[in-house]
Symmetry: C2
Subunit: 421 residues, 2 copies
């Protein structure tokens, strides 16, 4: 260690990166948090922005505001291009940032299983911009259907395909069903929004594989009651501008939403270390990258197993636990304490909502569903939001939506230069 305050650089201000920064708040170090965005995004509620229930600012918070009171932390908005591990520097578009310890917490992006050419037709949901883009395409589909006279084209416009039956896919399908059957029901004159065709496609045998089978059945049944067509054991073989090819046949659809798979950001390439099939770095038990004692990799970009050998899931609580662990490890090293025991993931549970008054909760042996599950889901998500303002606005928006069946952010905004219509 050099004879000065150690420099800790954290790349990425998601759940893992922020938690690591907080764990170091009392340490005698200089913390630099680098993110390409100015905001931390609460990804579990991003689907509500994509479905017009919440505004982007309700689920995002400026990173430097979160860390404003932590005097040893500096936030830089910059794009990281690579890591020079030999020189211990992070390369950014605004120059190099030196480090003594590096924490890579850059998360994951959606993956098209080698078919990146599908991306323009089937956007995924990871960033605020993805959410407003999906919101635009859902709302524009109804607008165009209203103005079109061709019945075939109207049917295509009112078909929505969601690929992937995990939590995001289930939540998106439930929310689009609500929009079509309740929010928009009285707003159109030429089409009946309730006739919209919402299809949830899952390659595996059941929805929400992380939940017990009984919960999966409940979710499937509830979605079907809400008018969603659930197709399990169904593979997407192609996405194009007019719809999707499934192994069971063709489905013409104007809106395709990708919730099927993720791939880690390129941390393994930056470090020149081995990646697993999902692009994640196979870290050591103390979450360091192989051969890099001073580089930690956490969150969705790290491949870790829990005590039973199962892979740690890519969810917020796992990333937070890794962030805390790494912060403690760095402090121990600096003060010359013995290294902590290997990282051990504690699984708290799984939550997913299907929409109005319906959700599933699995906390070990404690299981909920239906209205009470939905209340639990709502309270838990408001609780984990950052900031009193966002908690209040989100709680108010949900109450208002619950009472009125409306959604407060039904905005179609165009990217500059795009032609409307």
């Amino acid at each position: 260690m050099p004879d000065r305050r150690a420099k800790v650089v954290i790349i990425g201000a998601g759940f893992g990166g922020l938690e690591a920064a907080r764990a170091l708040r009392k340490a005698d170090v200089d913390v630099t948090v680098i993110d390409r965005q100015n905001h931390h995004c609460f990804q579990p509620l991003l689907y509500q922005v994509a479905t017009a229930a919440l505004s982007p600012a309700d689920v995002a918070w400026p990173i430097r505001h979160i860390l404003r009171a932590q005097k040893n932390a500096t936030v830089l908005m910059a794009e990281v291009g690579g890591v020079d591990a030999a020189q211990k520097r992070v390369r950014t578009n605004f120059g190099d940032i030196p480090y003594d310890f590096l924490i890579i917490a850059t998360g994951a992006m959606h993956s098209y299983f080698g078919h990146d050419e599908w991306a323009p037709f089937a956007p995924g949901l990871k960033r605020i911009e993805d959410a407003t883009r999906i919101r635009r395409s859902i709302l524009i589909a109804f607008e165009r259907a209203e103005i079109m006279s061709d019945a075939e084209e109207q049917k295509r416009l009112l078909t929505f395909v969601i690929v992937g039956g995990g939590a995001t896919g289930v939540e998106m399908a439930g929310a689009i069903a609500e929009i079509a059957r309740q929010t928009l029901a009285a707003d159109f004159r030429r089409i009946d929004p309730r006739s919209a065709h919402i299809v949830l496609v899952e390659a595996g045998p059941r929805l929400l594989p992380a939940f017990p089978p009984a919960q999966s059945d409940y979710v499937r049944d509830t979605l079907m009651q809400h008018g969603v067509t659930v197709m399990t054991d169904t593979m997407v073989t192609k996405c194009d501008a007019r719809g999707v090819d499934l192994n069971s046949g063709r489905l013409d659809a104007a809106t395709i939403i990708w919730a099927a798979g993720v791939t880690a950001s390129p941390a393994a390439q930056w470090l020149g270390v081995e990646a697993d099939r999902a692009g994640r770095v196979k870290v050591a038990p103390d979450l360091t990258a192989p051969g890099h004692d001073d580089v930690f990799v956490i969150g969705d970009v790290a491949a870790v197993s829990d005590s039973s050998g199962k892979p740690v899931p890519g969810i917020a609580p796992a990333a937070k636990q890794m962030g805390q662990y790494v912060g403690r490890t760095i402090i121990a090293r600096l003060v010359g304490r013995a290294a902590p025991k290997p990282f051990r993931y504690m699984h708290l549970g799984n939550l997913a909502t299907i929409g109005r008054r319906a959700a599933v909760v699995e906390l070990g042996r404690f299981r909920l569903r239906g209205f009470i599950g939905w209340l639990f889901w709502s309270v838990a998500h408001v609780y984990f939001l950052i900031g009193l303002r966002n908690r209040f606005i989100v709680a108010f928006s949900w109450l208002w939506s619950y009472l009125t069946f409306q959604r407060g952010a039904r905005l179609i905004t165009q990217p500059p230069g795009d032609t409307p219509g």
Copy 2:
């Protein structure tokens, strides 16, 4: 009149167009409202979106939701390319729409006095997209200043020029001063946001020319107390990527905001009639376009004088009054009643805010300023918002900002394909 329900087509769902539609709610007509956006935008509060106090959805509302209960109204989201007055058809990107009566309420856009090449460097504020673009450039300027080491460039990044000393210019300057001096004050480590240089440039001799001179003086003094440099009698002679040329010298600035002038949408060209210098149609006393008995032109796109010969200002109450008048006129014609008297504008007053606890109000002889003026301004704006939800969220956001000095929507979002940094 043909022997069927008359078709009234309204182009534009701003204040004028919506009010015209509402005035026809009980009439035996088919109303079609065409707008290129899906939402009505409450322009008087758009500057609060541009300055991160409110979310876009707080000042916008889906047009078809506003008119959902009006069964004789259909809303179409389409781009109008022209009017075929001989055939009585509106040309849109989704085909022609026939009309018996046409109401053109397409509003105005910012105008660069023949220098459209300034537009990329000095965005104006008319649409939601303009507001998020300006918000992005203000917030990015602080982010880049934090990461830059060059002192000259830092100074340029922290210089904000607002061109135009009307209500929008004054409100933008006051809000940016608040962001720099209060909201961001503790969030940066390398720069002091309070050192930002905010310059309000006005070509005329005083700010807010629509107000009495004593109110203008108060506004200038208050802005200066808040750290804004006010330059009256100052002309912009050039805008470029690095700053502005003024007749008094050069000002390097990363952010330039245009609030200096507007030009009407091309209704005059559509109709082949004469336009005034600001592009507006010189309408007859009953607001019909010259030579077009069945085409009404209202709001910012109409050139009208009040009873004393002064031009009717381009503000929301004027557009609403015209919309109501035209609605009544069409009903009178349909039932064969005598045509109403010529349109007469009733001026209610002017309001503008400078920021926290400071505003000016002029309602005829009734004048307010300071804290009480600010309260009046706040209540009036919440009252005129559409929808209970938006009123509640805006009131809550203002209360929260007032108590915490924070702004809830400090989001930098990138248009797709744009490179961050």
